[in-house]
Amino acid sequence: MSTRPVQLRTPLGEEVLALHARDRVELSGIVYTARDEAHLRMQEKGIPFDPKGAVIYHCGPVIQENKVIAAGPTTSARMNELSGFLIEKGVRGLIGKGGMGETVREQLRGKGVYFAFTGGCAALASSHMVLKGVFYEDLGMAEAVWVIELDRLPLVVGIDAHGNDIFGAARTNAERVFRSYSATPCTGRQ
């Protein structure tokens, strides 16, 4: 926690290419929430906002009376196979939890970054947010695309544009530890 967080504002440009995994960032400006259903519809019918420099937030918020009540991140891995077209169209940032697969890591190379926001921190998130609009409201509260303005949301770069992936590194390490540990048989696969 020694260095101060990098301040970024959407739409994002080439400044994201200079970021490195583990960098702390405070993000301001418009982001768009999208989960599984919204990705499928955007893939089929086109993106309802300008994707150039846009940031997608993997989130299904609680909204009440046009206010963001709670809006923490959802598991990004569900969107592993659904993110390529967004990055192709100019999306520069993804926000979520748990990291993404190798496919997305390669798709982000030279183009954008994946930001991790702490899972479960929905109250903290909403205290940095103002609701600006919505697309696909018929998909329901969790699956709609909510247009949200951020004011310095604290994030960490999980996957950078150079192929560095903190989640991947932690996974590789955990697998190595488990291999050396599980000399004993039986872990539920008889």
Partner: protein
Amino acid sequence: MKTPDDTPIHTALADATFRAYREAVIRLPPDVLKVIGRAAEAETSPVARGEFANILKNIEVADELGVPLCQDTGIPVVYLTIPPDVPLTQSLYDAVAEGVRRATKEVPLRPNVVDPLSRHNTKDNTGAGIPAIHVRPGDKFTVTVLPKGAGAENSSRTAMLLPSHVYGIEGFVVETMLHAEGKPCPPVFLGVGIGGTFDLAAALAKEALLLPVDTMTEFEQQICTSVNKLGIGPMGLGGDFTALAVKVKTAGCHTASLPVAVNVQCWANRHSTVEVKR
């Protein structure tokens, strides 16, 4: 004649369920706060310390604003304790469901419950068999609400181990977290059910999450230490704390069986108990 919906017991239970649900999604129990605080101080990875800082701030903001800690306000799991003079009737189940519907509207909660096949959302967090209600006898009339988020629930596992492989229980728990990585929002609490039957082991694993988490037996501590050696860390970003506590509940089992279940719970080990005032 009174309809079951306006008996004093029904009204009081519906109200207590509503209050327990609201409290559970906004404020964590003291023992849970204690272990999160201890881990936040002890964590050495800079990235993980940042995650703990967000978690502590989030707990503060939710409390101050009276809003849910997490947007995944869970699926309702409810434990009822009923004293001898409260009859076990359908009305009790209906009252709990009414409390859940009210909480969904007023807290508010995210409507999470869908039909498992059509995926049609009921919009009020009730459905066939949901809220899941577990009843047991007791001295006091209480309702406990344990809202269970999907990220952690989806990482949970049950296995029928060989009875000669008691030593493999720890490995099964550790492997569960190896597969889970950051998906269940670590640092997690792990409820482990050992023994009973295929279904009882899973029920015990969930009930174990209600035990005090600020103390562990030697066996629980040993499993916890082994899980933390994986280094998955908060949110899968690497760090010292993958698990905050492991809690074990056991039951007698068939001599030829060794059922084991791991119920994974995110850092927000949400549950609240309210006495039903009649």
